[in-house]
Symmetry: C2
Subunit: 202 residues, 2 copies
């Protein structure tokens, strides 16, 4: 690490703080960026700022979008009686890629996670319940959080709060390996899990 | 990839073009960046521009530096009779970490690589020879390119061009595994390879 200039050290630190990028990778990326033509480096920096500036959370589903409501929420062809609740925007993309789901989404941006002290207010659960209270057309909520302890707990929590509301709460069927990640599931497995989803309303 | 907004697609593409970052990682990073507070995302973008703006190639050794000549080239305590020629700025950092080398460096920013059509003009070989012609104090050039086919060929090429110049050309000793990478070598192995370097002057 010796003798890097402060601006390079700063860049390495910033890159190293991104998920999945360790110290060596951060150095490699930093020097790659320094080797780029000035125009390319500048475009990378601008892409970060632009994406951040243009993309806010959809006021309905909380997915990132550059138009509000987002293209999915404002699509008149989507089935408004069903909401699929996912952990991350990438999960929405995985579902859409499958072309088998025509309902709406709700992006939690996380799950309950006591070990990382992620609680109720760090995810968009309050927004989900507010949305449900204003949407009498909703008949079912699919809790498509990952099949982990935290994902299951979050699903169960929502199911309990919706007891007596008349809204069916379901969970993706088994087929997803426990401890796995929806993002890396192949389309067939995901489709079968969606089809076989089971009731968890109590 | 469906339904990402253009600015997010652009950010994913830009991140995915960086070395070692595939499609999935690029998506993960992009959404992590969108989730950051605006200030942090902005600081990351600025760190890229700042590092790029402030760091140019040293007019002597061609390493990235924010002062010209760089701290190593301008250090009066360094041994000016010996130049260690490396492929990348990270290799300089690896040598410096070892604390056993007190000479100067020359950063090639690559090696001959016909498969990626990297030739003479893509690396700083002309600059090395120009530097040597102006530095009669240089007694030895250590070719510390990686022990790969391309690194060996580059070392041999330099050695041939310096035949009869009175400059000793050496190569790091065996100890580095063939096909390996200097950057990931532990200090002891690197120190022993430096100590046992062998003459390749013809």
């Amino acid at each position: 690490m010796a003798r890097y200039s402060p601006s390079v050290q700063n860049l390495i630190a910033k890159l190293g703080s991104l998920p999945g990028i360790g110290g060596k990778s951060a150095q490699r990326l930093a020097f790659h960026i320094l080797s780029m033509p000035e125009k390319e480096a500048s475009e990378l920096a601008d892409a970060i700022k632009e994406a951040h500036r243009l993309n806010k959370r959809c006021s309905s589903c909380r997915n990132f979008t550059d138009s509000d409501p987002c293209p999915i929420c404002s699509d008149p062809k989507r089935d408004r009686s069903i909401i699929c609740v996912v952990e991350s925007p990438r999960d929405v993309s995985t579902f859409e890629r499958m072309h088998e789901y025509r309902g709406l989404y709700h992006v939690l941006h996380g799950v309950f996670d006591p070990s990382r002290s992620k609680g109720m207010n760090d995810i968009t659960l309050a927004e989900l319940f507010e949305r449900l209270s204003k949407s009498p057309e909703v008949r079912e909520v699919i809790m498509a959080t990952n099949p982990t302890a935290e994902g299951n707990a979050t699903a169960l929590y929502v199911s309990r709060l919706l007891t007596g509301s008349g809204i069916r709460v379901s969970r993706l069927a088994s087929g997803l390996p426990m401890g796995g990640d929806i993002e890396y599931t192949d389309d067939l497995t995901l489709a079968s899990a969606l089809k076989g989803r089971v009731d968890i309303s109590s």
